[in-house]
């Protein structure tokens, strides 16, 4: 069962990811991204991270991708980008080498260090795992406990986002010079 879930979710993830990088139409790419995000959400669930899975669907698949699509539509840039033409000849081989390199190195690292992953370091209250809201409680306790400072910082982050939106949305008078 678990294997099945993994295979399906992995297929979604990878299929979506390949879609993002291969679809010439940005709308299609955005939709492929949704596929990946759902796949990730599935995996979150299989890791008993229900809260994250929910947030993933709501924030990512819901808000973020919608924002993307909205912008695409707003700007009317849903024209096709010709992905078959590459003006810089070394770009794709180089990209391939880099990606393959990163993937290979990380996999090698993960595989050689897999014995580290079996150990239980604690911090997860196993006794309450049976409870339906166990995950969310644990997360909450961590966020508002040890990570409360980080949590407060996210407010600043959002403040920046707000200021940024205001700034970027401001209409420009074309006074002064511009090159």
């Amino acid at each position: 069962m678990e294997l099945f879930v993994f295979v399906v979710a992995a297929a979604m993830v990878l299929g979506g990811a390949l879609g993002v990088i291969t679809r010439s139409n940005p709308v299609h790419a955005a939709l492929s991204l949704v596929l990946t995000l759902f796949g990730i959400a599935v995996m979150f669930v299989s890791h008993d991270a229900q809260f994250l899975a929910a947030v993933q669907v709501i924030v990512y698949a819901g808000a973020i991708v919608v924002l993307f699509l909205f912008v695409i539509m707003l700007l009317g840039v849903d024209r096709t980008e010709d992905v078959n033409i590459e003006p810089i000849t070394v770009q794709r081989p180089l990209a391939l080498i880099v990606s393959a390199g990163v993937i290979g190195i990380v996999i090698a690292a993960v595989v050689t260090s897999r014995d580290l992953l079996g150990r239980k370091v604690g911090g997860l209250d196993e006794t309450t795992l049976g409870s339906p809201d166990a995950n969310i409680r644990q997360v909450a306790r961590e966020i508002f406990g040890n990570n409360v400072f980080a949590f407060e910082l996210t407010s600043v982050l959002l403040l920046v986002a707000v200021i940024g939106t205001v700034l970027m949305a401001r209409r420009v008078k074309s006074g002064g010079a511009g090159k």
Binding site: I88, Q91, A95, V98, G101, V102, I105, A108, S113
Partner: protein
């Protein structure tokens, strides 16, 4: 009186300074008079000291006057000190004496020259330097004079510097001399390293006491000889002397005949104990070079047509005799010949100057002839000089040359043979010169007609300021031989006088075949001189034989031109190559680094193409490399 030694150089120095400051005001002829008076007074002082020394017992004839400590550094203590002893005073005597005469002569000769005061300024400076050279108590003071006379000769040779040939000749003289100076410097280094002092006394004492190793002594001797070769125009460094005739004639007489060129002989005599302590072959080297120079220069003189060039090569040849003497251990004979040579060669040069003066600066002997009629005093004095140099008894040159040949015979018969040959040629070419200038037809008429401007000028006798020195010198040239006559021990006055200086090193030829048969050799010498004169008369006066004057001799065996060609050709190219090496290789490397950095910069700029995804790829590539390193560190 002896403590007044410092006055000897000080007088001409004062003259120099005075003319330097007030020369223009003094002008012509008072600047010349001042210079002459200064030199003459110097001569008076020297004479006074001479007599005082003479009054002392011979072992006490030595006096050092230390003026101040010049270069004192640690073990090296060099004083500005003057040494009055028989050798230096002998030198000083004829330097100041002949110098004064030449000064006097120059007043007449240089009359009307735009730079009249300057000429005498240089002359006085020269006399000062020459006196420092001979009076120096140590090698360094001598070197001060040594270089000083070099510099003065440079000034004087290129006195008429608007003429390129004069300027070039001056430079050539200085640079060639410098080659010799290098030798003298190295000799000083060796002496200091070995003995720890530069004073003659210290070095000679070390040499005499045997504490100077033979190898070091040889090194010093050979290096001194290199120095002497430069200054005294020996093979292979003689090339500057003939060119030095570009200078005014008094200069030729003073510097290039009587004084400066003899300083090499003086120096080797001064350092005789070192030569004595050196390996014997070093003396042979000196004698051989001297003999070869004597012959070599004599052959060249045979074919010269320039009146001064003949004398110049003759000087080289006579200097060769002196070196032959030194190499044979005959220091007294060398000094003897040096003095007599100073007399007659100064006489000849000034005579030739008088001729040139009278001929309106014509120096080509082919355009002279029969001048005895218009320039009688010059002719007579010149003829006396000729007889002296040709080795006709009883003129001074005969005695000195004979003594040299005597020692040469005792030392090495082959060199004697060369010497005899050179003496023969000397008589030959000097006779040739006299005939061409003073006898035969007057060829200057044609010349005067050729150059219309000079058309109505006939040669004339020179003023008294020029002829008076000629007369005095001709007297000396006749009688100079009396200072060292071979008749008996008592007539060796010069030898006795110089005894304190050269006693230990003077070769002893008593008991050799040559000594026993010296009258035979004397007779042979007379024969040789006569033969040379006769042959010359036969060729040039009677025209019985065709003159053999191959071009190669006129070109001085093409030695000088070969050297010039080498310096101007491969030498210059080598120098150019070094300059090019510097510009392109050494500096090129530096510039190349700059260019490479620029090129690298340009290359890296191409990477910076402005495209985000390219940048991402570069970052990714960097990341992969960094990660690869870490993975390797983790896995291995």
């Amino acid at each position: 009186m002896l403590d007044l030694v410092w006055l000897i150089p000080a007088l001409p120095l004062t003259g120099f300074l005075l003319i330097l400051l007030f020369g223009r005001k003094l002008g012509d002829p008072f600047a010349g008079v001042l210079a002459t008076v200064m030199t003459a007074s110097s001569f008076v002082v020297v004479a006074g000291i001479y007599f005082e020394l003479l009054s002392l017992p011979s072992e006490e004839r030595k006096h050092v006057v230390t003026l101040f400590s010049w270069i004192p550094v640690g073990g090296l203590q060099v004083d500005m000190a003057l040494l009055a002893d028989p050798l230096s005073i002998t030198m000083a005597l004829f330097v100041t004496g002949i110098g004064a005469l030449i000064h006097l002569y120059a007043i007449g000769y240089m009359h009307g020259d735009a730079k009249f005061p300057k000429f005498f300024m240089y002359l006085n400076l020269f006399i000062f330097s020459m006196l420092m050279l001979v009076l120096g108590e140590n090698l360094l003071v001598t070197f001060l004079g040594w270089e000083g006379v070099g510099a003065c000769s440079y000034f004087l040779i290129s006195f008429w510097h608007t003429r390129d040939s004069a300027a070039t000749a001056g430079k050539k003289a200085f640079v060639t001399n410098r080659v010799g100076d290098w030798g003298m410097l190295v000799a000083m280094f060796l002496a200091f390293a070995a003995v720890g002092t530069l004073s003659y006394e210290g070095i000679n004492h070390a040499a005499e006491s045997g504490s100077l190793a033979a190898v070091t002594a040889t090194g010093i001797a050979m290096m001194l000889f290199v120095g002497a070769c430069g200054k005294s125009a020996q093979l292979p460094l003689f090339i500057w002397l003939p060119d030095a005739m570009e200078g005014p004639t008094p200069v030729s007489a003073l510097i290039h005949a009587a004084t400066m060129v003899t300083s090499g002989v003086f120096l080797l005599t001064r350092m005789a104990p070192v030569l004595h302590a050196a390996y014997p072959w070093s003396s042979d080297v000196i004698a051989t070079v001297g003999a070869l120079t004597a012959l070599f220069a004599a052959t060249i003189a045979v074919a010269q047509t320039d009146i001064k060039k003949v004398l110049a090569y003759s000087t080289v040849s006579q200097l060769g005799f002196m070196f032959l003497a030194i190499g044979s251990g005959a220091y007294v004979a060398a000094i003897f010949h040096m003095v007599t040579h100073a007399f007659f060669k100064a006489l000849l040069f000034m005579g030739s100057g008088s001729v040139i003066h009278g001929m309106h600066h014509e120096q080509d002997m082919r355009r002279m002839g029969a001048l005895r009629k218009v320039m009688p005093i010059t002719a007579i004095t010149f003829i006396i000089g000729w007889l002296a140099i040709a080795g006709v008894p009883p003129f001074s040159g005969f005695w000195s040359k004979d003594e040299i040949l005597l020692y040469a015979f005792a030392n090495n018969r082959f060199l004697y043979f060369i010497g005899v040959l050179a003496a023969l040629l000397t008589a030959f070419y000097m006779t040739r010169q006299v005939i061409m200038v003073f006898f035969g037809e007057a060829r200057w008429h044609d010349h005067a007609e050729e150059n219309g401007a000079h058309g109505d000028h006939t040669p004339h006798e020179s003023p008294w300021t020029m002829t008076a020195p000629l007369v005095i010198l001709s007297g000396l040239a006749i009688t100079g031989g009396v200072m060292q006559l071979p008749f008996s021990k008592e007539t060796h006055w010069l030898e006795h006088w110089l005894e304190p200086v050269v006693h230990h090193s003077e070769a002893n030829i008593k008991g050799t075949w040559a000594y026993d048969n010296k009258w035979l050799l004397l007779g042979l010498a007379v024969l040789i001189a006569s033969a040379g004169i006769a042959a010359s008369i036969a060729v040039y006066a009677k025209g019985k034989f065709k003159a053999i004057e191959p071009q190669v001799l006129a070109d001085a065996w093409r030695y000088d031109s070969s050297v010039s060609a080498f310096v101007g050709g491969p030498g210059r190219r080598a120098f150019d190559a070094v300059a090019a090496f510097d510009a392109h290789i050494v500096d090129g490397a530096v510039v190349g680094v700059g260019t490479e950095v620029r090129a690298a910069s340009g290359l890296l700029r191409k990477v910076q193409n402005g495209l985000v995804r390219s940048y991402a790829a570069i970052i990714g590539l960097g990341a992969v490399l960094v990660l690869a390193w870490f993975l390797l560190r983790g896995v291995l």
